[in-house]
Symmetry: C2
Subunit: 487 residues, 2 copies
């Protein structure tokens, strides 16, 4: 099977598409730009959801659900917001079909035209702040710390599975606060939660920072982002958390009485990650043989393959070992298929990214040992059957750590500081990756760089210090910022 | 607070709306017919989801995700299906807004008209069977056992929170099989799973049976249903599982090669339950003081109220007891509010349906006891602090059982066998509930009864035996069937 995957060095983009298809993560649907998330892909999303949901609840958030549709007039209430989303909206105009009077099939019933068109939510700030208006009267009603798991639609013209699709799944947190400081603290806290999730669960190192004004979310005063680097040297924005100021409170007239009985506008944040993370996960770890998954997000962590085929004695050992692994909270499957040969199965599980493969044959049983193959390094070793569960548990921890370290080393090798524009262009062209450069802080310069080179300003990193001069204009710069070509 | 709830005896419908509003389960949104599911309501849905998802996976199903949109032409491919859904569809016709050339705001961009309109899924058989076409080649690809958690839209003209809304959340299972027998077995298995969930988790007794041809899902050969009885004597269809025969396989040309290398059409099922179950839960158990929840689905099972206020010594005991309860897997919250008085808090927790309330005051500590109040019976008792966790765990089990038994007794008292049409009308008018009657099996008679009385044929129960004669036509009847007025 693996032969059907294009090598990364040959065509990275095709390699990605091959992995998504061959590991059965997703496929195009009959609806333009919308994907079908197949069971294997969805199982990864379930693992992500479950962990993120836990982290959101641990930080005091609760879930709720708001309507799929947004009245058209709501979008217009926040000027920048409508500017950002109006051009890629799915618009519902009618609520009924009728038999085609002129032939077979059904047509839109012209008498069922909506008075006001409805937009399929591209994001939910407007409908949620219209709701919060009724929920918030006094400072005692604050903060509101709500998250929603939902589907959203943005009518993108060029789509790729997970990375950019017309419909995608995500979570969107929407919080309301009585003070500016508290709202900023919230936005930063969730920024931190996203970074922790990316690094500790996805094993994907990220640079934490703020977006430039030009790259901010439509309606935000500040957008915090986590930026990851893919194996081809392109950046991927993996999660954003927005400090929205009082923009939406003003647009929807949401005020509270403070403890001096004075009316104040409410402060807001929103934050989200999406099924895009599955694309990021694929592109961070996978190789020319297929998917590589960090054990913490692998729907299946261990597969046991009886060699050459499942039979009585081998199955007894396999089942005993499976029970020991389950005891330790490790997910495991025994391959009981009798049709395919071990070599075929090995390639298949490599393709699907199962972290650990255990092979048991007759001779292994005689020797009281088992063959342990790890997906990430593709190394094998014979391990005593005694204490095998302990061994595998440690191995999974090792792999989780190892994948992060490998990705971190790659990422660090690809953060290149440059001190002039020629160098910037040269690195971008030949090495790729993140480029760390001084910038004068203007949108004008940022856009010039984008026009010249297609590199965008990924973020103004949190942990950079030291002044300098802009590589383009020579004007003063407060700190180095990160540029890259991006997904 | 409780005073603000209308009594059931006065106006059952208003009572339901009051509970939904005062217990903060849901509210109307700015979008016609769409509700906002508030955190308390959503937490109940999360409990339901989590248990159902477990039961689906235990029966071999996996989750996936299919597009929100369905091309209009897909709907027309199965004749009955389009007939059933065409009249209540949200139709997407455009993919862009533009600035209003004649004034403020945005308008639909006429140049962004879709070539083919998209329907927001009212159910996903068509888009899924169009996808299965590519997944199924041989008998080796079968069965496919997939479930999807999703939002769907049916443009209902008269809506009520949870019971009937334009958008609702649900799960829809869509399975594909090589034989008719296997598909029927699957549909019946999920019917059984739904009945088990309703009775063991919702504490809501249900009658299991098949729908009449007239009440079947649009496109099904057989619809299995679970029917529950609400406190006002009206029935509520709580979950359906459909044997779809080869209708969708034929509509979308989905064939497989059997093991004789012969092409066969694939057999299908689909099955779903929705956020409607939250409405059913409310109407099965709640009372004039507010929500009553079965402990297995209560987001919060126990609240500890320090009396009169949280202070050092009382809080120490409260925290110790909370830790003991958590140890047993019981969810618990200590009320640390210092503003409101215990009486106010008691009414509030009754309203919200927290199953068990523990009160601890100074004297209780001196007596090494704690006041235990149960929500369902509104009884209180003083219990020794030693072994309190054990006591509460048993109490929760008792309540779960007690709620089911109470609902079962009410339901059984309201299944009335009748032997002629006058009696049928008299019982329907004065007693309500399920009416068990002989019926000649024709849609004509079924519709006559509906026109005459507004009662619908709820189901042909699985466990009824004995022939008779139809109460309307006097023609032969194979068994008694169940009629009722329904939500």
């Amino acid at each position: 099977m693996a032969k059907e995957i294009t090598n990364r060095s040959e065509n990275y983009s095709q390699w990605y598409n091959d992995i998504v298809r061959k590991a059965q993560l997703a496929e195009h649907s009959a609806v333009r730009g919308c994907m079908v998330i197949k069971p294997t892909g969805f199982a990864i999303w379930e693992k992500m959801q479950s962990q993120l949901d836990k982290m959101f609840k641990e930080t005091g958030h609760i879930n709720a659900y708001f309507p799929l549709f947004i009245p058209k007039s709501f979008l217009s209430k926040e000027a920048e917001h409508v500017e950002g989303f109006a051009k890629e909206c799915a618009v519902v105009t009618h609520h009924r079909l009728m038999n085609n009077p002129d032939g077979p099939g059904v047509v839109v019933d012209p008498s069922a035209k909506l008075e006001e068109e409805l937009i399929v939510r591209p994001t939910s700030e407007t409908i949620i702040w219209n709701t919060y208006k009724d929920w918030i009267k006094s400072y005692r009603d604050l903060p509101i710390l709500i998250n929603q798991w939902a589907n959203v639609v943005r009518w993108e013209m060029r789509t790729r599975p997970f990375l950019r699709t017309a419909e995608f799944l995500w979570q969107e947190g929407h919080t309301a606060h009585s003070t500016k400081a508290e709202a900023i603290e919230e936005a930063q806290k969730m920024h931190e939660v996203y970074a922790r999730f990316a690094e500790d669960y996805m094993a994907m190192p990220v640079i934490k920072g703020a977006k430039s004004a030009n790259e901010r979310f439509a309606g935000a005063l500040e957008t915090y982002t986590i930026e990851a680097l893919m194996q081809d040297g392109k950046a991927l924005q993996a999660g954003t958390s927005h400090f929205l100021g009082q923009n939406f409170a003003k647009a929807f007239d949401v005020k509270y009485l403070d403890n001096n009985n004075k009316e104040q506008f409410v402060w807001a944040t929103s934050w989200g990650v999406s099924t895009r993370l599955i694309g990021a996960l694929v592109m961070t770890h996978s190789d020319d043989e297929g998917l590589v998954l960090p054990p913490k997000l692998a729907p299946l962590q261990v597969v046991i393959v009886p060699i050459p085929k499942p039979n009585g004695e081998i199955m007894e050992h396999a089942e005993r070992i499976a029970a020991q692994l389950k005891e330790k909270g490790i997910s495991v499957k025994i391959d009981t298929d009798k049709k395919n040969r071990p070599g075929f199965k090995f390639a298949e599980y490599e393709m699907k990214g199962v972290p650990v493969r255990l092979g048991i044959g007759k001779r292994d049983i005689e020797n009281n040992q088992i063959e342990v193959a790890r997906r990430d390094t593709k190394t094998k070793e014979n391990v005593s059957m005694d204490g095998i569960a302990e061994h595998v548990a440690n191995l999974l921890d090792d792999m989780q750590r190892g994948l992060f370290e490998k990705a971190l080393a790659h990422r660090n090798e690809h953060i290149t500081p440059v001190d002039n524009y020629d160098q910037f262009k040269e690195v971008l062209e030949n090495k790729g990756g993140f480029i760390s450069a001084h910038w004068d802080g203007t949108t004008e310069t940022e856009l010039k760089i984008k026009d010249d080179t297609k590199a965008t300003l990924r973020c103004i990193p949190d942990d950079e210090e030291g002044e300098g001069t802009c590589i383009v204009t020579g004007k003063p710069s407060k700190q180095r910022v990160i540029f890259a070509k991006a997904y």
